[in-house]
Symmetry: C2
Subunit: 751 residues, 2 copies
């Protein structure tokens, strides 16, 4: 009875609050782009539209190590902006967010005043009054008293510089960049336009041969009084150099209006203002051509003012973020939540131009899409929770991502592993694409060529020769594991990853009625068990002959140190990774008690790593231990509190193209995709009093799903969960059940 009354009461409340939120609630106000800009979160506070190809990030990672403790060339640094740094050398117009390797961070504008200076070490400035919102960034450069405002449409970065009276310059530095690639072209078309290109690539210091161009067109709202190009050449050696007074020195090519190419070049526009003036700069980008960059700019932005572009982008963000509406919780919690959701909408990003063109992977051809071609697939990260979240909240986008992956298969002959701008960077291990494809299909998003997808999965799962996705496959098929003798880094991790992929194939095979495949792959999916050493109670690296590798240290491999068995982690952080075989591991360990004890130990001994993906699902594993489910609730809440904050260090580590943020979004909503490719969620407890998920009715039967947290005193109902007024009596729920329900209700203990 209580519950019926409650439902009626809540129903009224919902109606009221719906009307309220529809008019007043703006999640955009809860985005703090500074979250993740410290503690190696590797996000940036720059202005970007949802899944934008272009963005405008403050660039403060170059030069003056006294002011920039995290300087790009003095260490491994993967982001254009670091909160602690204070020396800014411009605003980069293509950027990657939340990754672990440097790339892009190029097409850098910088306003200066006074005499022209092209050396960033000299023209850089400290800054103050930073503001960052979804689609907007601003700051004031102390050295020049210039205010910079930035916004962006999908493929165009827009900056506005408020100059004092006097001589002012807008530099376009094409030498500087976060990428370690070099080479650019600049061509001043007129006093209001510069076109050009910049080479980028070698992500994670891999595959430098594939470095590729990004093209741009920059339009200036006011014609420059003077303009030019600069070039810093190689320093010639040998006798001839004695006649070259200019040897190795930067040269200014004033009013030069032909193409200039070189490893270190730039262009500038100069103004002489009699009173304070604003200049707006619009930079359209494209990975296809200068013409397309211009076309992107014209189509998206054209003659729109800065304000108009920002208003449009803000509207897009609002639309995006209102897919979930929350009530209750603190302002900080709301900000953490919506910023996390915001961070899931940066990558994968749009790769095709307005006209549909994009550079294909591997073919060297220009492809054309009718829909959206996505890029930046950090699949080793994102297969675990990110794409599941996208399937729930943005099913059309998830389908387009799957289609993009299948296009890559068409073009390249292989599914992507870590694809960036149509280059395969071969970063990380495993065969994650199969999992994403299977997971999407099994969640009911079936509008893609599943036969092709299945064929592609099987290819990487079975082709032994010249298989770029699954090194060590021959051993894996023969022995069930990749040995330390295979020459494959992290063979235990690799074995587990292949198991995870094979499990996904097994599930999809079953769905497609391929029973035989299902059996084969299901069996393959638990072969990691052969690496379980019942003496050490760990998974351990093994020789091909079955002997354990000597000198096993379960702690080796933490903090990115080298490790003979694991990738980016140690034996603790991988032990429980394969949730799909939680029952198998329980058996290996000798039962639930031992399992729980070991799981407790992960946390108690400080071995849980919130900053990397392999142990992401660990806290939810308590749901496999009846009676200990409250530990999952507690642990998730603790981790959220400890690692996710409304501050620059508010991410546990690299955002991993939104994977870290997806963990927070799910966890704050009270459920989590426990097993990749399995559609069952693990349930804990929501952070907010009420969460309304607005579902896309093109794909889902209901307009929305409401999640309620009701705090109750006493232990009666505490921890109980109701689905559409019926007690659930389990801590797992199928995706299918969830999307067919109206309300998920968590009773929580009012402590």
């Amino acid at each position: 009875m209580v519950s019926v009354l409650r439902v009626v009461f809540l129903g009224l409340l919902i109606l009221v609050s719906l009307r309220m939120t529809a008019q007043d609630f703006d999640p955009v106000n809860y985005v703090n782009p500074f979250i993740g800009t410290s503690n190696y979160g590797a996000t940036n506070p720059g202005a970007i539209a949802p899944r934008g190809m272009a963005s405008v990030s403050p660039f403060n990672v170059a030069g003056r190590i006294d002011l920039n403790p995290l300087e790009k060339d003095s260490q491994w640094l993967s982001n254009p902006y670091v909160y602690e740094n204070t020396f800014l050398t411009g605003f980069s117009h293509v950027n990657i967010s939340g990754v672990g390797c440097p790339d892009l961070g190029v097409i850098i504008t910088m306003p200066t005043t006074g005499a022209l200076e092209t050396n960033h070490q000299k023209y850089g400035s400290t800054y103050t009054e930073e503001t960052a919102k979804a689609g907007y960034y601003s700051t004031k450069l102390k050295k020049y008293d210039v205010e910079v405002q930035a916004t962006a449409s999908t493929r165009t970065g827009v900056t506005r510089y408020s100059f004092p009276a006097g001589k002012s310059n807008i530099l376009l530095n094409l030498g500087l960049g976060l990428t370690n690639e070099q080479g650019a072209m600049a061509h001043i078309v007129s006093p209001t336009e510069i076109e050009g290109m910049r080479m980028v690539g070698s992500f994670c210091y891999n595959n430098p041969e594939a470095a590729y161009p990004v093209y741009f067109v920059a339009k200036f709202s006011k014609p420059a009084d003077n303009f030019g190009v600069w070039k810093t050449p190689y320093k010639n050696e040998g006798e001839e150099a004695q006649w070259m007074a200019y040897n190795g020195k930067t040269r200014i090519k004033e009013r030069f209006s032909r193409e200039v190419v070189g490893d270190s070049i730039g262009a500038y526009m100069t103004y002489d203002f009699s009173s304070p003036e604003q200049v707006e700069v619009k930079i359209g980008v494209s990975y296809v051509s200068i013409e397309n960059a211009r076309d992107n700019l014209e189509n998206e932005v054209g003659d729109s003012s800065f304000e108009e572009v920002y208003a449009q982008t803000k509207t897009e963000w609002k639309k995006k973020l209102r897919v979930v509406e929350v009530e209750g919780g603190t302002e900080d919690e709301k900000t953490i939540f919506y910023t996390a959701l915001y961070h899931t909408q940066i990558h994968p990003n749009i790769f095709n131009d307005v006209n549909g063109e994009y550079p294909e992977i591997a073919t060297g051809k220009i492809g054309k899409t009718e829909g959206t071609r996505y890029t930046t697939f950090s699949l080793w990260d994102t297969y675990r929770n990110y794409h599941q979240l996208m399937s729930l909240l943005y099913p059309q986008e998830q389908l387009d991502m799957v289609k993009s992956m299948l296009e890559m298969y068409d073009e390249n002959g292989w599914l992507p592993k870590w694809e960036l701008n149509s280059t395969e960077t071969f970063t990380m291990v495993g065969d994650p694409a199969a999992i994403v494809l299977a997971d999407t299909y099994l969640r009911g998003l079936t509008d893609f060529d599943v036969d092709k997808a299945y064929e592609a999965m099987l290819k990487s799962a079975t082709q032994i020769e010249e298989n770029p996705l699954r090194p060590g496959l021959e051993e894996y098929l023969k022995k069930g594991y990749v040995s330390v003798d295979a020459g494959v880094p992290g063979p235990v991790s690799v074995t587990q990853e292949y198991n995870a992929a094979d499990y996904a194939i097994a599930l999809l095979a079953k769905e497609l009625g391929k029973e035989e495949d299902h059996e084969v792959f299901k069996e393959r999916s638990v072969s990691y068990r052969k690496l379980y050493n019942s003496d050490s109670k760990f998974l351990q690296p093994k020789h091909i002959d079955g002997d354990w590798l000597e000198g096993f240290d379960p702690l080796a491999g933490a903090n990115f140190t080298k490790n003979p068995g694991f990738i980016e982690g140690n034996a603790w952080q991988y032990l429980f990774m394969l949730s799909h075989d939680a029952e198998g591991l329980i058996q290996l360990m000798g039962g639930k008690v031992a399992y729980e004890k070991k799981l407790d130990a992960v946390f108690n001994e400080g071995q849980f790593d919130m900053a990397n993906e392999p142990d992401f699902a660990y806290p939810y594993l308590y749901n496999f231990i009846p009676g200990s489910e409250h530990k999952a609730q507690k642990k998730v809440q603790e981790l959220l509190k400890e690692y996710y904050k409304n501050s620059p260090d508010g991410l546990p580590g690299n955002d991993d193209t939104g994977t870290m943020s997806a963990w927070a979004v799910y966890s704050m909503m009270g459920f989590y995709p426990q097993v990749p490719a399995e559609t069952t969620y693990s349930l804990t407890a929501p952070i907010f009093d009420k969460i309304k998920i607005n579902l896309n009715t093109d794909f889902y039967p209901k307009e929305n799903l409401v999640i309620i947290k009701e705090e109750v005193s006493g232990k009666n109902k505490a921890g109980e969960i109701f689905i559409d007024n019926s007690p659930l009596n389990t801590f797992f729920i199928k995706h299918e059940t969830l999307i067919n329900s109206n309300e998920l209700l968590f009773f929580q203990d009012l402590e």
Copy 2:
């Protein structure tokens, strides 16, 4: 009587020989492009069409100093090819001939066999079986057993590579070059086409800010089996470099088909031939755009075979060179003569594309010409004899050159000084354009805007502030000379050059009826006299207050050593330079005896420099000393014999874009333009028995002028000269007289 008989007899002879030559005489057979490729002649034996924008020169000046004693980076070297060098690293497709500073020598192809190697130090080869003709070059690369043949149309270089069976490569090295500029773009469009650009400029190590692009399209007759681009990046420094295994190393971008830019890049096409095969490569160039380079290639060459292109170019050369037909003389003398004429047809070269477009000077705009836009104006050299020869032999071209110079004035606000590809290189001194314009007009080639020309001359002659052509003008106008205190290099030389220009202006002013200007400039034209020191009997550098600079050494300045008074020469080499004031100098020196004695001393004391322009007219000065004219004849013949040979060292020094060769052409024909802008020729004696100059009847009244050398025994007629059967009784003849005559007859002593 004798002479009348002779004339009749000769008349018959002429008829006979005319018929003979019309059918059989091919001056192209007398071109030896190796002349000038040693002894710093700075010509190259490459294939070129008359005044071609493109040419294909063997490139043997890079790397392996053991094989290339004249290596481009180990010394001041201004040519892509040196006869003594033996290590060849390719074939450059834009080149300058006969200049004293390095530039161009880029877009370098190289055939190799076996594994791909992109380092020219490693892939270079020795060679054998060199052949060079007008429009043709061939050699065999020893290392690869590959024959290379080259020809060219005006804007397209064509090479043919005869490969043995097996793996072969055609490299297109865009890093290597004679220029010390860097930066290129390469884009493999298809297995038969590469497009791109290369930065060039900084001629004479001046004005590096003006470095500019040359564009190209390369078409291959056979589709490559494989292709790619290479790039050698900067070497990164700092901590980050430790993760870059590829740091600073050349990377091969196999099958890469996007644009690649950088300071050191190249592209390659690879073949795998089952039997010996030929590949033809056509490279169209343009200074405007890739599109124009493609258009130039298509329009000029299209699908023509190597043989067809060569046949066409050979025909053009034949037409060009047959403007003069000679009889008698040795085979070597004919070869020296026609090679010299050939060398006058390299520069100034055509700068506009087939569609008329060219980059304007200074404006940054693309201009369009209805006629021909010329470039490479080495005017300090060419004002002395080259343009006079062009007016006589190729009046339409000379007019087009004048029009190009006036276009430059329109574009730049100033006439050219040393213009190269629409950059003002500011090489050398003086104000030579005025002389060329006046000289052309006064020779009757008046079809240009003489008012504009006059305005342009006056501007540089009178504008004191911000005058890039005449530094030190203020002093010059005030004092009559540029002093050593003016901060202008070589102030004595500069004063003399300004006098020469002012003399030209005076002559043109008179012709245009500007009597007042005539008087002013005539007076200005002899102000060098103030620098004559009657004690030393030399022109000497002077202080602004009138004192001589102490420590005068008439020998200082020889061999390009520094000199306070003179540019590229010493006091001997400049003393007699101003032929227009020969009478004035005779007076200064105290009469003809002293003058002759000093002139003798120039030669006797080894101070005459055949390798540079200031004393070019010295030997002819004996014609100003009645009774000593035979010395002019003798000296000219001696100098021809000593310095002009049918061998690689067959030029006295830098050809100076044909000026050195023009001296030989005139001198071998027996006359010489004594005073720039004055249309009077000095006469000596021809080398050949008969010379027929085929005049352009659009400009001149007669179809041809015949010059006869008749050797007579005894002293009766020796040295006598007849014009149209009348004794001339002087050693000077007006251009006007000459072109209105049929025959110039020299009686020579049969010794």
